[in-house]
Symmetry: C2
Subunit: 212 residues, 2 copies
Amino acid sequence: MSDTNTRPATAVVLFTMDRGLKVLLVGGSRWHLPCGPVEDGESLAACAKRMVTNAVRHSEIYLEQLYTFDGATLGTQGTGIVVTYYALAPLDKVGIPDRDSRWFALADAPALPDGHQRIVDCAGDRLTAKLAYTTIAHQFLPDQFTLAELQAVYEAISQQPLDKRNFRRRLQSSDHLVETGGIRRDGRHRPARLYRLRQPDQVAALRQGNPK
Amino acid sequence: MSDTNTRPATAVVLFTMDRGLKVLLVGGSRWHLPCGPVEDGESLAACAKRMVTNAVRHSEIYLEQLYTFDGATLGTQGTGIVVTYYALAPLDKVGIPDRDSRWFALADAPALPDGHQRIVDCAGDRLTAKLAYTTIAHQFLPDQFTLAELQAVYEAISQQPLDKRNFRRRLQSSDHLVETGGIRRDGRHRPARLYRLRQPDQVAALRQGNPK
DNA sequence: GCAAAAGTGTTTACGTTACACCCATGG
DNA sequence: CCATGGGTGTAACGTAAACACTTTTGC
């Protein structure tokens, strides 16, 4: 049962893409999600951002609310309600974690306290689902990117290989990508064309309207 | 900004189907959503259910969390966080509202206080979206139903007419429906076959896995 | 010239849509 | 017998899936 006199807390599942999808955990010996109580006069989103500010250099980070748990549904007894978020940041915007925090692949994350594992699973499911019908994958990439980089993000999250031609056709016909004209030379092979999002500042729906 | 010392509240958008989609509002003169603070030792879902118990006879009601707002995002200033839910009940499980509560069609609902309209919109969007890929529509129907009744629910929520043959083919091939063998005689025309859900106690996904 | 990744079309299968008539019953 | 809603099939279309080779560069 929740103790509603305890002030609400937020917990954040921060993902980045570094040779695969990684999640940030804190705590050193007893790993857990970044979390903490909301302060007076602080909005929920601001609190969630504050939980990960030591890990993320820039402040314009993608943040989305996941679900709100009470003690009963989380499996922890007591201790108020927890408003959970997930956040995405490209590798070049995250700082090197101190010795109190680390990036883990989802597969080899350590055991987490009651409820935290469920929050991570929930975030992973949401991310996977949104990959299919939004431009959310671009939150892991810099403004300019190659189609191969984009495909790698899709493959890392969905955990399945994608057909190069079908992938490119689908994305290019979706009208969200714009060729910048630039190219990236990268090793002894043909350089790749660079693209950017037509509307970089929003995560747009690919198919049709989807709920908040 | 939210005052996190105020205890959290829940607000509920309760829908039913009565010649179209209806939403329950309370308050008599100044209509608003059923809402109120969480009590000590009460779970969030229990609190949300309590908000609508005077309107719904049975306790097994479909209830799903929508979103959690703070004062800043709701547009109201101050007054803590609000965990919002939406709920669905078939007409035969809802009581006749007292003079302090009424069912409104979405189109002709009165002006609502700050934030409440946004919550209703959010609930409507979620309901419409889930209609497409879950069996949520059945929350408006009794255990046994005809395909025409089911189609009417879909048409009321999506607000567009559906092709009878395509609708029936799609639903029947989805493997969620079972013919009961019974029929319903209803007027001077051919009687309709009755169906039930194969798994009546869960809202199942129609296509593939979708996040919580 | 060769290794390595970028880039490009066509065919096939499948699911979705559009559409019109007969059936069973009550009055 | 007729009015009323219940029930049924097929053809056209568009989308998604499978699949292999040429191009451009660095060394």
